[in-house]
Point group: C2
Chain length 202, copies 2
């Protein structure tokens, strides 16, 4: 059944696109899935997919019920004095996860880890979308930049695991400003610090 | 059927105890499950449970197929110069997870996160067993010590997620000594460093 031409804003259309997108990403991976193929699967025009969801990465995040767009978080954290980038990262992250979107974040982490296939799909998205764009956005470069960002990401993911998924006290109930003061400098060092034995001194 | 009296070393007995322990932990939580109840469930004498598995925490780790005993890792890392404790932690952790036990670690993380109940069971174990004993073992104290250890744990869990579960490059393939040089100092700071805004200066 062709559903092209339904008016924008129709929740059935939106759901049909999301369902087709979930199928396509699960079947073909992130790179293999196309907006055109997803539109065909949903029985709508590709323009309507763009209208509802924008780009493929935003559609992917919508299918995963992501509580945030990592690239928007990175763009926000990159604005301002570079020496406070780590703190801004942690603060923005906590504002989202301590808020109503936090439960979506927990569900996303659970499903990412849940089975090998969702893990692989998420890995592909991180590598081709987040990492490739985050590194230049932060003024970093090449293999060193990628390694720095993955070290920082490991701390952010671990904080989400400890505070929001496993909920281990006293970290789970620590005031956000305490968490920012503790973890911000570690993230800052990973992104921009000198790290003997990791990278040659600048 | 009572199976008391089977000779030690019988794999069926061992499996029967593990199965009864899994049921008991799932049904009653870590604190609620007892060696006596588990022995009854397996149809063996409680002494045989101790003979096979030692203490309740070791039996719990065996039911979870844990790749390591966190308390042994902490005890090893606590030995030696205090200013290298963070590096020793990360090094011991990597030796285990980079080795043949790593896949058990990934399975454990997956099952910990997999559903609310296993997460809660694991949280209870962390709080009542690991944290309570790790804090004094590291020469730390009270709420500050517990918060320090949970910050350090958040980085270790995040590293396991990024390197072994999600396997995001280039972190997944980075040489262990590079990971130790990057993450060791962050763990060291969480455990023993001055952290303005987190704890009052000593």
């Amino acid at each position: 059944m062709r559903r092209t031409g339904r008016r924008p804003g129709n929740p059935d259309t939106r759901e049909a696109i999301l369902a087709a997108a979930r199928d396509a990403f699960a079947e073909k991976g992130y790179d293999g899935a196309s907006i055109r193929g997803i539109a065909t699967g949903a029985g709508v025009d590709p323009a309507l997919v763009h209208h509802y969801f924008g780009t493929k990465d935003k559609l992917f995040l919508a299918t995963m019920n992501a509580p945030m767009d990592p690239l928007e978080v990175i763009a926000s954290a990159a604005e301002g004095p570079v020496e406070q980038t780590g703190e801004r990262f942690v603060r923005i992250f906590l504002e989202i996860w301590d808020g109503p979107a936090g439960s979506a974040g927990v569900a996303l982490l659970r499903s990412t880890v849940g089975n090998e296939w969702t893990t692989r799909l998420f890995r592909e998205f991180i590598l081709t979308q987040i990492l490739r764009r985050a590194v230049p956005k932060l003024g970093l470069d090449g293999d060193e930049g990628r390694l720095r960002v993955t070290f920082a990401a490991s701390q952010m993911v671990g904080m989400a695991m400890a505070r929001y998924v496993i909920k281990v006290e006293p970290l789970a109930s620590a005031p956000p400003e305490v968490v920012v003061a503790a973890i911000g400098p570690a993230v800052q060092r990973y992104l921009f610090g000198e790290m003997p034995g990791v990278f040659p001194a600048a």
